[in-house]
Symmetry: C2
Subunit: 258 residues, 2 copies
Amino acid sequence: MSGGGKLSVVGLGPGDGALMAPAVRAALDAAEEVIGYIPYVEMAGPFRADQRLHASDNRVEMDRARLAFTLAAEGRRVVVVSSGDPGIFAMATAVIEALHQGDQPGWAAVDLEILPGITAAQAAAARVGAPLGHDFCVMSLSDNLKPWEIVERRLELAASADLVLAFYNPISKARPWQLGRAFEILRRYLPATTPVVLGRDIGRPGERVIVTTLGEVHPEQVDMRTVVIIGSSQTRSFPRADGRSWVYTPRWYGSERG
Amino acid sequence: MSGGGKLSVVGLGPGDGALMAPAVRAALDAAEEVIGYIPYVEMAGPFRADQRLHASDNRVEMDRARLAFTLAAEGRRVVVVSSGDPGIFAMATAVIEALHQGDQPGWAAVDLEILPGITAAQAAAARVGAPLGHDFCVMSLSDNLKPWEIVERRLELAASADLVLAFYNPISKARPWQLGRAFEILRRYLPATTPVVLGRDIGRPGERVIVTTLGEVHPEQVDMRTVVIIGSSQTRSFPRADGRSWVYTPRWYGSERG
């Protein structure tokens, strides 16, 4: 579009370049300005000397979004990087929010595109089989931007609905007890044998996958780089030839076997 | 592993090759046997003359899964194709289920991998902004393999939880009234102004994206190739410079603005 540059908000996927969309790779190659949280900018590289990097600390999403529009409105080719999918607890929301709330001269003329990526729950699920093979709910356990009562209410309703759950932002130094409380709530609805998958840094060095149960899982096994998947009443687990476990949620529910 | 071949269950993504993971492209290139629903095998091609194609009609997922293990156990390199993500209402579940239920000689020795892909809800979300930017629920509206009462109960609980919803298998000739009923249920919980996104064949020829509202959406606008995204009470929509609309669900909830 005339007058405006281009702004691409891209998802790097879980971290393994073999799972990053070619469209994202092309956007990174064409970028003049690269904006993002420090480790994600590092993950997106290497970059050429002519590409300007704007790597910032966590929790400044709106600042990054506004910088992206400002540079794109000057006619620059700008890429905002997220890990996973930018549309799932990542930068796309902040970018659209910035456009909605703070439209400055030239921002509306910016050619804005969102390029999706494989999100952490998908990458972890693929490693263990198909725990997300039936209806599921993806939620952030963080109460930084929503009241904890809302998190608890959603946990209770999602468990009543017998949905598989995937938790993002499950725990942090500032939020040490919330995950344990979430497990407590779920134990009221689901048997102790319910499969639980902990996937950390999938597709990155040091990848770790743990298959455990709702009865045995401990918050100490989880950190902020872990995605937590909790099965429904239908989810099952069985041993693999190599001693690990497969986990899947069948396509059918209850007695309606296909 | 000795004695066994390799079985890769891969996600083609929404249909645009620029959104397909390089790992999936490599698996397709290396495949000796390619198994899948007819349109997805076509989408995955073109193939070489030395690659054997096993394209089958819909609703024979378990037959496809068993054929895949049988060929892989003979030492063949087998790829099972799904559109989107094989782990989300697609072939990975059937493959793991087949292994669990019908383990035949040699099946356990097959080197089985699941390669994820961008699923339809992600592709549609990216086209309109970030409707999945907060807690959301992905569910199939099909009552082929689960009782319709379970679908209704999940709709009521998910709406009570104020989750964004993404519907797969929203409607078909054999299931003509269920989507209208789902809209009726949601209208009891959500205002008529709630944004609704209909994404059909995203990334394929004839792609169509409609942004409408829960008050105005009609089942006639939807077919089996459409993913339906229904906002929460927090989801908002605003016009783009080109006359279309952006849709996003803010990162914060209620008054907890970031």
